[in-house]
């Protein structure tokens, strides 16, 4: 699924990065960055998280995760945006809950990572 479609489905807002033709095929939802760091194959992966701080971006930098969807109305800071831009990431915000977002994306054929 393209990023634009994900944004439309969750009534999200693109905060950083470009919506390209790249497809997101799977997702992982977690607020615990140590669990995110156990992900081996992060290609075409969307991280759904309610944790909005610098460590979220750092964790994705180390894990090679390019797409992050912040839920529950969590706000991305300028500092986070800068680091995300440096790493060519796409950041999206939505007011939807993690459960709601996961349900919508699952129903639209975004696969679970595990």
């Amino acid at each position: 699924m393209k990023i634009d479609e994900i944004i439309a489905l969750v009534e999200g807002k693109l905060i950083e990065g470009k919506t390209t033709d790249e497809e997101v095929t799977k997702a992982f939802a977690s607020d615990l960055m140590s669990d995110v760091l156990t992900i081996k194959d992060a290609s075409s992966l969307l991280l759904i998280t309610g944790l909005a701080n610098m460590q979220t971006i750092r964790t994705c930098e180390m894990s090679e995760i390019r797409y992050i969807l912040f839920v529950r109305g969590k706000k991305v800071t300028e500092e986070m945006k800068e680091l995300a831009e440096e790493n060519n990431m796409v950041l999206i915000e939505t007011s939807y809950s993690m459960y709601k977002v996961a349900g919508i994306l699952y129903a639209n054929n975004i696969n679970p990572l595990y």
């Binding site: 607020d31 960055m33 760091l37 156990t38 610098m54 460590q55 979220t56 750092r58 930098e61 180390m62």
Partner: protein, 136 residues
């Protein structure tokens, strides 16, 4: 090539900056991306551990053509029972650390899973030394 970095306890804003620098260095050297990822994930967890638990620490990175050796030596409370700390789920992390998305007792097991050779030594009341070696 040996480089040295300083990490301050409690400095969550900059936690991960050493790992980021090392990632760029390894990439420039053309190290296999799987090895780069394993190394920086291990290093990042170890760097966060210094920020989360210690007062300060020094990270020494020895990047060689066929391997990378990283030593993280901190001044801090130390670890009384290392086998216990190596178990998934055991944590002494503060609320502040948990708010950062860590502190669930996954750090050391994650470091172990992503290191070819891992050594952890600690003296209670003095500090902890973590040594990670990954072959290319």
């Amino acid at each position: 090539m040996i480089t040295e970095y300083h990490v301050n306890g409690g400095d969550f804003t900059n936690a991960g900056s050493v790992s980021s620098t090392v990632k760029k260095m390894m990439r420039q050297l053309g190290v296999d991306s799987t090895v780069v990822k394993r190394t920086v994930v291990a290093l990042y967890e170890a760097e966060v551990n210094i920020v989360a638990h210690a007062y300060r620490g020094v990270v020494t990175v020895d990047l060689q053509p066929d391997k990378i050796y990283i030593k993280l030596a901190d001044e801090g409370p130390g670890i009384a029972d290392i086998p216990q700390a190596m178990q998934e789920g055991y944590s002494t992390a503060s609320v502040a650390v948990r708010e950062m998305g860590f502190g669930a007792g996954m750090g050391l097991p994650n470091i172990k899973a992503n290191s070819d050779i891992l050594n952890v030594n600690s003296v209670v009341g003095k500090g902890t030394t973590v040594e990670i070696t990954n072959n290319f």
